[in-house]
């Protein structure tokens, strides 16, 4: 307990410098802005702004990126409520009741419920993160290559359980990502693999290039190819932000439930914000309804407060596996790994011991970021609503431009621009074929790490796979968990439920 306080104190001393508060603010502001704008998700946002953070010191860069992440998350819930368009998957369920509230002229209370629920849940999430960090890190130091490999398998499989569409395709996308991660010089033998004798490919494919190509260009082309969507913005109807007394009575227990669900599911590999929001909504529907309440699906405030709290709590606690074990559990975390490596920080348990200022500074700045979101969003709601009305044909050329400048500035090499074009095409191909790209990015980030751990694990076990992974209790447990997860998802009943939940 004393440790926790002194650690948080260290964190505050790092995070509350004017510079870092400013970067947290910029991150949250830009994140919300882009989260509100339609047609661009948090992955593309972070990838796009990543080159901007190269010039910053590492702590500030990570603080800004974390701000971008939950800013985008938050912006996503605003659009869910106002236009029935989830800015990103974790706010899909918020649409159900949030949009109905907006249609009934109660957009204000819905937005406030989302903001206050998110802030509360985020604060708890940060505390959980701080409390779990040290013990988990100690556990992580006991991990050998076998355990790491099994953990990564669990993380990757966990991450695709929620992929919409075919599970097999999602697993194939992971493997494809792992393969793309192999491209470049093999650190062990010095052999250049799959580099096609192109000098630039000897260093491997840049993850910014993949993220921007697939999540930026690919999505834009996909959006432009779709017939025009009709959006109804409830702009005139946002007056009276404050929820009524009855709203408070309804939403408070929902926020608490959502927070608990979010914190727990966020830690699980592959959990994160998305799973948390879905589970919280499902639980909320099961909780007995009072007679004077609006039914779910018709604008119940609990249906907004609970999933919003859960996805924010989950967003915080999904940093736990990344910061303590060095394993990203979703595409955004994969980008954070990329950002850390660019700043020469190898994510993993050693960060907390080698770089305590960075670690605790980042954690405290997350809380500050959450606070900022509330301060920023409620008064600025009018601006966000204005942003919503910006037509897409003004937005997407700007996104293309920022992607192009971003990739070029990474290495000042036009080769990266050609590559981002190629991945833009591949991204569009994936959209047409119904292959979800997020698992590919995760696999790409984990590829080299997995190969290295596999190599070491097999070396120790003298090439015997069974001995390497199943004769070690921890590793075996993790792999059995993987098998169980796969089995559960493939059961016909669950398969149907999963499909229903994902298609909403």
């Amino acid at each position: 307990m004393m440790d926790l306080i002194s650690n948080l104190h260290l964190g505050f001393s790092v995070a509350i410098t004017p510079m870092n508060v400013m970067y947290a603010f910029i991150g949250c502001f830009l994140g919300t802005l882009i989260g509100v704008l339609p047609g661009i998700g948090p992955v593309a946002t972070i990838a796009m702004l990543l080159p901007v953070t190269y010039v910053l010191p590492p702590v500030s860069a990570l603080i800004m990126m974390a701000g971008l992440y939950y800013g985008a998350q938050y912006g996503g819930s605003t659009t869910s409520i106002l236009v029935n368009l989830p800015g990103e998957p974790s706010s899909v369920v918020t649409c159900i009741d949030g949009y109905q509230m907006a249609r009934k002229g109660r957009a204000g209370p819905a937005l406030t419920a989302a903001a206050m629920g998110s802030f509360f849940a985020g604060s708890v999430g940060v505390l959980v993160l701080a409390a779990f960090a040290t013990p988990l890190t100690e556990l992580a130091f006991k991990f050998g290559p076998s355990e790491y490999f099994s953990l990564m398998v669990l993380g990757l499989i966990g991450a695709v359980l929620l992929a919409t569409g075919s599970l097999l395709k999602a697993i194939a996308m992971i493997l494809l990502g792992l393969l793309l991660g192999v491209v470049g010089t093999d650190i062990n033998s010095g052999v250049e693999r799959f580099s096609l004798n192109i000098a630039e490919l000897a260093d491997g494919i840049g993850f910014v290039v993949i993220a921007m190509g697939i999540f930026g260009y690919g999505e834009i082309i996909g959006n432009l190819g779709q017939s025009k969507d009709k959006r109804e913005v409830f702009t005139s109807k946002v007056h009276g932000l404050f929820p009524t007394k009855k709203d408070f009575k309804d939403m408070t227990p929902a926020v608490l439930r959502g927070t608990v669900v979010g914190c727990m599911l966020g830690i699980l590999p592959g959990g994160g914000a998305l799973l948390a929001a879905f589970a919280a909504y499902a639980i909320e529907k099961k909780v007995a309804m009072r007679t004077d309440e609006v039914p779910f699906g018709q604008g119940n405030i609990r249906g907004v407060a609970s999933p919003e709290s859960a996805n924010n709590a989950g967003a915080q606690t999904s940093f736990i596996p990344l910061l303590t074990l060095g394993i990203p559990t979703n595409a955004v975390m994969a980008l954070m790994v990329g950002a850390m490596t660019i700043h020469n920080i190898q994510p993993g348990p050693q960060v907390i011991t080698n770089n305590p200022e960075l670690f605790w500074g980042l954690i405290v700045s997350m809380w500050i970021g959450n606070l900022m979101l509330v301060i920023l969003n409620l008064p600025l709601i009018a601006i966000w609503i204005k942003m919503l009305t910006v037509p897409y044909h003004f937005l997407y050329p700007a996104i293309v431009l920022f992607c192009a400048i971003g990739v070029y500035s990474t290495n000042n090499n036009t080769f990266d621009i050609w590559m981002v074009g190629i991945f833009g095409f591949i991204g569009y191909l994936f959209i047409k074929l119904g292959c979800e790209p997020a698992p590919l990015l995760l696999g790409f980030i984990l590829g080299p790490m997995m190969e290295e751990n596999l190599r070491r694990a097999l070396l120790i076990a003298d090439g015997d796979w069974w001995r390497a992974f199943m004769m070690r209790p921890l590793s075996a447990t993790l792999l059995i968990l993987v098998a169980l997860l796969l089995l559960i998802v493939m059961l016909p009943g669950i398969k149907k439920k999963r499909k229903e939940a994902l298609t909403g």
Partner: protein, 162 residues
Amino acid sequence: MKIKSQKDFYSGVLFMVVGIGFAWGATRYEIGVGSNMGPGYFPFMLGVLIAALGVIITIKALIIKNEDGDKIGPWAWKPLAYILGANLAFGVLVGGLPSIRLPAAGLIAGIYILTLIASLASHAFKIRQAMILATILAVGSYLAFIVLLKLNISVWPAFITG
């Protein structure tokens, strides 16, 4: 045999081709054995796994019923060409093409051309609006990337700056 799910069928085929391609490519490197993995070991394994998954996905797409056929639908060739074209043009203008001795035309020219070409992809294209947008983006990018972030990108054409 009729294809029951077009999307799954073609993704399965794609995974097969890519998997076999990488596995075959990996055989050019030393595969080694488990206790001493060569550079080809991991990619070979992955390639084979992807190809195997591709086979299963393809077969499932042929067998399992799907009401609407899960069609791929028409390709958005126009947006595809314009977006990738805009990207290509930007690269050529900002970096130049040393192989044919084409000098760099700089960031500002690149922004105008990129914005114009990219805007053409939309139904709502109007030249005046696109020019205004390009101007806003040019001024904004100059301030943000060159003045504020001091990125090392040539702003003006080489024949002006020398």
